[in-house]
């Protein structure tokens, strides 16, 4: 899921950095006040830990293996803000040392795997586990499900960021400049791998480690369990929740900004603007490639663009709806269980 440099346009990379920046800022502030200096070694060790467990290849049913990201495990134990920092640190080191994920793409990768995954995982785990005891098996199931869904939300966001590239960024001849496949290819291709293998690995690792911690080290799970700490406001205030939702829904829209201009321009206008490039072979190229994109095609292309972005927004909204519905369902079930026992 790590996006390398070269897949995203610089405009998208910049937007994703801008989207990640306030979370980084808030996380650094939050972690300072919450845990004082204690947080520094804790986050560092957890980042190192998530780095190392990515090497644990877990045998999965079906004869394959997979490895986990560990973001949901981090969020269950450290809370979402510290988890954002820990996973971001791991991503930065991966980008610099292994070329796994680009340096310009760090903003996008952090947004998908550190920010979205931490928050979705955290609140899902809280919802699904309700007020269950720290050592209940429901928490194991909640952790595994939260990991599975959070990973797929991250994969969906990645697919959207990649899939909008060919709609927004093409050269004068209409060839895609960056990631070449649209949303209709990127989303199924990403989700196919993550709904099956990667999601299973994340769920299995997260669930099993939480189960192990319940047996061997339950106090580690207590801080952010939401069970006995109902009064402690660890979660986001309502305004931040709405802001986060709005941001996630708006992200693909924001990315559209440089592209709308492209879509609205006719080819003649483009040429009139010159765009500063007329390389030696331009005439030859344009005579070869301007033909498939006559004038009337441009407005036609604008509609699918909007349709794709709309579908992307609907996709994200759907995932959130599922999350909300699951939370509601679990809450109902818990209430029913509680009334039955009393």
């Amino acid at each position: 899921m790590h996006i390398p440099d070269g897949y995203l346009s610089p405009a998208t990379a910049a937007v994703m950095y801008a989207a990640a920046a306030p979370f980084w800022y808030r996380a650094t502030q939050k972690v300072k006040t919450m845990l004082s200096g204690r947080a520094v070694p804790l986050i560092a060790l957890f980042a190192a830990f998530s780095f190392v467990i990515m090497m644990f290849n877990i045998p999965l049913p079906g004869g394959t293996t997979g490895h986990a990201v560990g973001a949901v495990l981090a969020t269950i134990v450290l809370g979402p803000w510290a988890a954002i920092l820990a996973v971001s640190v791991a991503l930065v080191i991966q980008a610099f040392f292994f070329g796994d994920g680009g340096i310009l793409a760090i903003g996008a990768n952090v947004f998908n795997m550190a920010i979205a995954m931490s928050f979705v995982g955290f609140y899902l785990y809280r919802w699904l586990s309700g007020s269950a005891a720290i050592t209940s098996s429901r928490r194991v199931l909640a952790a595994a499900m939260a990991a599975y869904i959070a990973l797929n939300v991250a994969a969906l966001l990645t697919a959207i960021e990649l899939g909008i590239q060919p709609m927004l960024f093409r050269d004068g001849a209409g060839r895609p400049l960056y990631f070449p496949y649209g949303l209709e290819v990127a989303i199924p291709a990403m989700l196919l791998g993550h709904l099956t293998l990667a999601g299973a690995a994340e769920a299995v690792v997260t669930g099993l480690v939480v189960a192990w911690l319940q047996r061997a080290n339950p106090e580690i799970l207590e801080a952010y369990s939401g069970a006995s700490t109902a009064a402690r406001a660890v979660g986001l205030p309502r305004w931040a929740w709405l802001g986060l939702l709005a941001l996630i829904v708006l992200t693909p829209m924001g990315l559209l900004a440089p592209g709308t201009a492209w879509g609205e321009w006719g080819r003649e206008e483009l040429e009139a603007l010159g765009l500063g490039y007329i390389p030696a072979g331009f005439d030859q190229w344009s005579s070869l490639w301007s033909a498939p994109i006559p004038d009337y095609d441009i407005p036609a292309l604008e509609n699918p663009t909007l349709a794709y972005v709309a579908s992307a927004v609907v996709g994200v909204a759907l995932v959130w709806l599922i999350v909300l519905a699951l939370g509601w369902l679990i809450e109902r079930l818990t209430l029913r269980g509680a009334t039955r026992t009393t």
Binding site: P41, A44, A47, A48
Partner: protein, 287 residues
């Protein structure tokens, strides 16, 4: 080596030496810093110059809409690598040996008319009944080339930066980008403790390996791996407590202090101008 490459190595290596192979490969790429200690051109420069230069080049690659311009930037990294005494086969192979397996697979379908309609270069299937048409198209080749060249050149620049710069110096350089000191401190500590945890994990694997004979059932393997991950986690949790106490006893009060030892020299300014100049030129040519 990319992360995915390491994981691939992990999968290929036999059950016996999987993690120790991996530890070896990781240590080589993460901790050796052997090339960074050599006397060479890039090693002699201020890390801030290299960081800004690398970012400028990455942006130029990202902005450029000209294949030749991106290829020229890649070509320019070769004499830089040579002047920095980076083994050339290692430098070229480390990037290009793995790119085909990862980005190559993603770029492959774009070659064909299905995804990139346009004038055919090579027609592979052209049957009338049923109507099946498959051809490699010119726009497809251009799109795939852009993807491969952009990814390969970007990774090369990151590799060159990390090979010729010691991690501690690079962290200091991050301060010019206004990265918060706390974040830089965490990055530095993570780097150190990856090594510690990796060795702990390696020892667990070795201990287990020496106690088992034959094949282990998957479910059993899963349980063991989860327990190992749990143990490792508990270890790092306990270790972070100890590290915090050690930091406190050395005067840590939540604010990181770093000694500024970096100093700009004349050559640094010159090379900064060269790197940024090349990036601007490449962007201008490619726009």
């Amino acid at each position: 080596m990319t992360w995915a490459g390491l994981v691939g190595l992990f999968k290929r290596a036999g059950a016996k030496s999987r993690l120790s192979d991996l530890t070896g490969a990781l240590e080589q790429s993460l901790f050796a810093e052997e090339i960074a200690r050599r006397k060479g051109l890039l090693q002699s420069l201020d890390p801030r110059v290299k960081l800004i230069g690398a970012l400028a080049w990455l942006l130029a690659i990202s902005w450029s809409q000209n294949l030749a311009g991106i290829a020229a930037l890649y070509t320019l990294t070769l004499p830089l690598a040579a002047a920095s005494r980076v083994p050339m086969t290692f430098y070229v192979k480390r990037v290009w040996a793995l790119i085909p397996f990862f980005t190559g697979i993603i770029a492959l379908p774009a070659l064909f008319n299905v995804f990139s309609p346009g004038a055919p270069l090579v027609t592979l299937i052209d049957s009338t009944s049923p109507r099946v048409y498959l051809a490699i198209t010119l726009p497809g080749v251009v799109t795939a080339a852009f993807l491969l060249l952009r990814v390969g050149t970007s990774v090369s620049i990151a590799v060159l930066l990390i090979l010729t710069t010691r991690w501690t110096l690079l962290l200091k350089a991050l301060r010019v980008l206004r990265v918060p000191q706390t974040f830089v401190l965490i990055l530095g500590m993570t780097y150190r403790y990856i090594y510690v945890l990796l060795h702990a994990a390696n020892n667990m694997f070795l201990a287990r390996q020496s106690r088992i004979v034959g094949r282990v059932a998957d479910a059993e393997q899963r349980r063991w791996l989860a327990a190992s991950a749990g143990v490792l986690f508990a270890k790092s949790y306990a270790l972070s407590d100890e590290v915090y106490l050690a930091m406190q006893s050395r005067g840590f009060r939540g604010e990181a202090q770093v000694m500024e030892t970096l100093r700009w020299r004349g050559a640094d300014w010159m090379w900064l101008a060269v790197f940024v100049g090349v990036a601007v030129a490449a962007t201008w040519i490619g726009s």
